[in-house]
């Protein structure tokens, strides 16, 4: 089985710490970072632990388009070759 690893980048100039992404995250790996403040004075969204799959649900509910979502699919070479053929 290919392994999937995801992560997000939060644009703090847009994030207003509304928390909709935190509530929607199916893996429950997000929080509003109490250690950070944006220039507008909000605690921005961030990953709090491992386990993000890069599903993109957080970006779908984000009202400020502040999130970029990445994912890395790690497949063993053999499987990848078979898929390519």
């Amino acid at each position: 089985m290919p392994r999937v690893r995801g992560w997000i980048e939060v644009d703090e100039s847009h994030c207003k710490g509304c928390g909709l992404c935190v509530a929607a995250c199916p893996q429950d790996v997000m929080h509003l970072d109490p250690e950070r403040l944006t220039s507008q004075g909000y605690h921005p969204a961030a990953l709090k632990s491992e386990g993000c799959t890069g599903c993109g649900i957080c970006a779908i509910v984000c009202p400020d388009a502040a999130l970029t979502v990445f994912r890395e699919v790690i497949a063993p070479q053999r499987q990848a070759t078979a898929a390519a053929a």
Binding site: K16, I60, C62, P63, A65, F70, R71, P76, Q77
Partner: protein, 260 residues
């Protein structure tokens, strides 16, 4: 032995059709989601260069700052009339209005109704959050029966203040309207459906099939006195039963439309 092969993908990034400026909307306001969906659709269709938006009066008045396309600001409620003029003068352009319920359903009732009746080839994005947001949470024509607002402090009493207006149902009775649907922005599945509807509405215009309107049930956490998450729940539990989601008018030519 197998060497792992790593594939990197960008699952989501901010649409190009949105300007890189922070919006003035309150945290958790679904105006932002609606803006993003419109921007994603403009990106996908590749029409940003020939798109002209018409902003209404209300919180969404500043929409002109947030989109990459050309924008004009219409007098209160008159966005569909202005859009009519722009579309008729520049028929090759894509013209959309972005209006709230305080703008479209009250002062703008005449303009939207006649634009739909004339079958103007424009797209209307209609945000229904059952309240006047910008001016401080007064009762709107769309306010639910019993809903407390700053101007109906004991709840909307329908005997004295009348009943809410279901705009999509009303406009769907007009022969000129081609595509009139209602969607909601309260969860990821519904947001996806809303985007599909917005895409269809813009395609209807792109292919010259007539008037299209997408009504989006939306939140106003601050004026409802709720957290953003509670507000989404309130939409699902209280607004959707009064404003059922669905396709109210899909003309046969639109039904035949295939979107690639």
């Amino acid at each position: 032995m197998t060497t792992p092969q790593v594939q990197r993908q960008i699952v989501y990034r901010r649409p190009k059709a949105l300007n890189d400026v922070p919006t003035h909307y309150c945290p958790g306001c679904t105006h932002g989601i609606a803006h993003r969906l419109v921007a994603e659709v403009l990106d996908e269709m590749g029409v940003i260069e020939k798109t002209i938006g018409v902003a209404s009066v209300g919180c969404s008045v500043f929409g002109y700052n947030y989109f990459e396309c050309d924008f004009v600001e219409a007098p209160h409620g008159r966005a569909p009339a202005m859009a009519t003029g722009i579309k008729r003068v520049i028929p090759d352009s894509i013209v959309f209005t972005y209006q709230g319920d305080g703008d479209l359903v009250s002062i703008g009732m005449g303009e939207i109704t006649h634009a739909a009746a004339r079958g103007e080839n424009i797209t209307v994005v209609f945000i229904n959050n059952a309240i006047y947001g910008m001016t401080g949470g007064q009762m709107a024509p769309t306010t639910l029966p019993g809903q407390k607002t700053t101007s109906s402090q004991n709840g909307r009493d329908v005997k004295r203040m009348g009943y809410p207006i279901r705009m999509s149902e009303m406009l769907a009775t007009l022969d000129g309207a081609s595509y009139v649907v209602r969607r909601s922005l309260h969860d990821p599945a519904n947001i996806r459906k809303a985007k599909k509807a917005i895409r269809t509405a813009f395609e209807v215009q792109h292919q010259g099939l007539g008037f299209s309107l997408v009504e989006l049930l939306s939140t106003c956490p601050i004026n409802w006195g709720m957290s953003p998450v509670e507000a989404l729940k309130w939409v699902e539990e209280h607004m959707v039963p009064v404003y059922p989601l669905g396709d109210y008018k899909v003309s046969p030519t639109v039904a035949a439309l295939r979107i690639r």
